[in-house]
């Protein structure tokens, strides 16, 4: 393989396919995190939740013999972890970033501990049976994009369905409107009589479940094994991808795909023997992410109410009775996007 083969389709088609594979767990984690952040909750703990999802997903898939059961269990595990995170940040006003870091340390350690205690020697644990690639009948024969997008593991097709679902949910539903308002202008949501705390908890739960699912996809579907440290920073990459994608589902997915393609590209550059030192090549996707985030974050910015816990003043009914009617601050609701 020489540099001249860079212009051949036989280089780009497998590259694109690899990009889709690398992006798949990232898209899951990023979509969930986008919902969470739009509601005003920055969950730095998705790295830990992905690790938890990986170990739980792997263990359940290993013991039950079915991959999808493992994925389901991983989503539930991520959900439980995010409920803990949500309780601390929403109902106890803990700082979201610090709590997220604590969750990371806790869950990463828990995953290592679980694996080390359950399997006394890795020799016993063979690879899980791989889920075969499914070629979509007509679409996989399309030129250029056929193989990369439509000859993949079934979980990739699940992502194709999830992206429009998240888009509709976030941008074109009442629930989505409340979630977006909760992130920009929580007082408006509260004045509208919506329980903003439960709303945020729902958003962060979705984020946690998706993160758990992302970790399980990596372990169960893509690798077929749990390896300590296998998440390798993907949770943090997902945080960057959410910013990169401007918190909008389609763009987040595109950003994840770009990251995946660049990562796959640098690996193929190494194979071609190009005389660039490997540490620089390996850094390419991360450098790209930093550069884009530096330019994007300046313009769009995080939702206004991020990392600001909404006070629990009127949470309980008795407290609500004490609030005089005219102290409620009314802000106009954000304009609905077309």
């Amino acid at each position: 393989m020489t540099l001249s083969s860079l212009i051949e389709l036989s280089f780009w088609i497998p590259l694109l396919a690899a990009g889709v594979r690398v992006a798949t767990p990232l898209v899951f984690a990023s979509l969930g995190e986008a919902v969470s952040e739009r509601a005003g909750i920055l969950n730095v703990g998705i790295e830990g939740m992905m690790a938890l999802g990986a170990i739980v997903g792997f263990l359940v898939a290993y013991w039950s013999g079915h991959s999808w059961v493992g994925l389901l269990a991983a989503a539930m595990a991520g959900l439980v972890a995010s409920l803990i995170f949500g309780f601390l940040t929403i109902f106890r006003g803990a700082d979201q970033i610090v709590t997220g870091i604590v969750m990371n340390i806790l869950l990463l350690g828990l995953s290592s501990l679980a694996y080390a205690s359950i399997f006394s020697s890795a020799h016993v644990v063979a690879q899980l049976t791989a889920i075969p690639v499914f070629r979509v009948p007509w679409l996989s024969d399309l030129p250029v994009i056929g193989r990369p997008f439509f000859a993949q593991s079934p979980i990739v097709y699940a992502v194709y369905l999830l992206i429009p679902v998240f888009w509709l949910l976030l941008e074109h539903s009442h629930w989505g409107l409340s979630v977006r308002a909760a992130g920009e202008n929580p007082e408006a949501v509260d004045s509208a009589g919506i329980n903003i705390w439960y709303l945020r908890l729902q958003a962060v739960s979705i984020g946690g479940a998706m993160a758990g699912l992302a970790g399980a996809i990596l372990a169960v579907v893509q690798i077929g094994a749990y390896v300590d440290g296998m998440i390798a920073g993907r949770g943090f990459i997902a945080l960057a991808i959410v910013v990169f994608g401007g918190w909008r589902p389609w763009r987040v997915a595109a950003a994840a795909l770009l990251f995946g393609v660049v990562d796959a590209f640098q690996l193929r550059l190494q194979v071609s023997g190009v005389p660039i030192p490997s540490p620089f090549l390996i850094g390419m996707p991360y450098i790209l992410t930093i550069v884009v985030v530096a330019f994007v974050a300046g313009r769009a910015g995080y939702p206004a109410a991020i990392n600001k816990p909404y006070p629990l003043r009127h949470f309980s009914r008795s407290a609500r009775k004490l609030i005089p009617a005219d102290t409620a601050v009314v802000h106009p609701l954000p304009q609905e996007h077309s």
């Binding site: 690899a18 767990p25 390896v227 300590d228 296998m230 390798a232 690996l267 190494q270 194979v271 390996i282």
Partner: protein, 348 residues
């Protein structure tokens, strides 16, 4: 008179107790050994191999009357490893084993401040005072693995996926590529570095990149991330050669063979010598096949697919390397194996 006798009694008692204590301290030579690896002690790979070595040293030393207790701390980053090493040294551990190539600075720094503790560090530039480096010269057995891969390759291309681009690992990767050329001068060899010991996902994509370029046998020079390589090989119906430990049962249809470094033997010898005080000052313990480091374990299921003449050639190659007839060079830069003149391998 009574007081003088009392004083003599006191002196006798003190002298007697001290001498008894002194001799018993000489008999009960207990030592504490600490083990600090990169990964977990049950990872089935590098870290577990080192731990097996420390345990073997304990058994060997127990036979000669020395009892050692082993403590370990897993999964540390290089800065954490330095803290742990210092901590163990402060607590009076006799030997601290740092079993990770990235812990070199931790070993040297801790060694400076704790001159009474022996530090053993794997794959470091030099041995200085109380810090000794031990190096499994993996290029020997990697060469053999490359030879086997080249003979078994149907597509005429093989590849290696390695963790980090530093000395021991690059020697392995380039040794494999050189061995492949020795087996088939027309072979194409690829290498990829993923900068991680445990990112199995990246290892999978790295292997896939090589497979997409035509390779059909991938050598793993990563630790636990090798799982990703097996996943890629399985998905494409290709083969892999594992490293550091026999990983045939991790992926029975994919792992053709495993390049055993016999790391346990190396670590066992180092720890035993360290506790017994037999380590030679400033010596770099680089041990290759001549010293027992390097065996090829075939996967029993796939061994039948190897043609008998290839199996014989592999055996005679290993014998030549063990006897020193063939010397495998250590390449520190990726790609150097492609330019090396194969005639230079036979020592004159």
């Amino acid at each position: 008179m009574e007081i003088k006798n009392l004083k003599r009694l006191q002196t006798a008692l003190v002298v007697g107790t001290v001498s008894v204590l002194g001799t018993t301290a000489g008999w009960a030579k207990d030592a504490k050994v600490a083990y600090i690896p990169c990964g977990q002690v049950n990872d089935g790979s590098w870290s577990e191999a080192g731990y097996d070595g420390v345990k073997a040293a304990k058994d060997a030393l127990a036979k000669s009357g020395t009892n050692i207790t082993i403590d370990y701390t897993e999964n540390l980053s290089p800065s954490q490893a330095e803290v742990a090493a210092r901590d163990y040294a402060t607590k009076g551990y006799q030997t601290v084993v740092l079993h990770c190539g990235t812990f070199a600075n931790a070993a040297y720094n801790a060694g400076k401040d704790f001159p009474n503790t022996n530090f053993l560090i794997v794959v470091a530039p030099k041995s200085v005072k109380n810090v000794w480096t031990y190096i499994p010269a993996m290029q020997d057995i990697s060469f053999v693995a490359g030879y086997l891969a080249a003979k078994m390759s149907k597509s005429g291309a093989v590849g290696v996926v390695a963790s980090f681009n530093f000395s021991n690992i690059t020697w392995q990767a380039e040794g494999f590529r050189l061995g492949a050329r020795y087996g088939n001068p027309k072979i194409k060899t690829y290498s990829n570095y993923i900068n991680s010991f445990d990112d199995a996902g990246k290892a999978k994509e790295a292997a896939q990149a090589e497979i997409d370029s035509g390779a059909d046998i991938i050598y793993s020079a990563t630790d636990q991330a090798s799982r990703g390589i097996y996943a890629a090989a399985e998905a494409n119906g290709d083969l892999a050669i594992a490293c550091y430990s026999d990983q045939s049962n991790l992926s029975p249809k994919t792992v053709l063979a495993s390049a055993l470094a016999n790391i346990p033997l190396l670590v066992e010898n180092m720890v035993s010598d360290s506790v017994a005080g037999k380590l030679v000052a400033d010596k770099v313990y680089s041990v290759g096949m001549a010293g027992g480091i390097g065996e090829l374990a075939l996967n029993p299921e796939l061994a039948k697919t190897i043609p008998p003449e290839v199996a014989k050639e592999v055996q005679s190659l290993m014998a030549s390397i063990k006897s020193g007839q063939i010397k495998i060079p250590a390449f520190s830069e990726p790609g150097q194996s492609e330019q090396y003149d194969l005639n230079g391998l036979k020592s004159k």
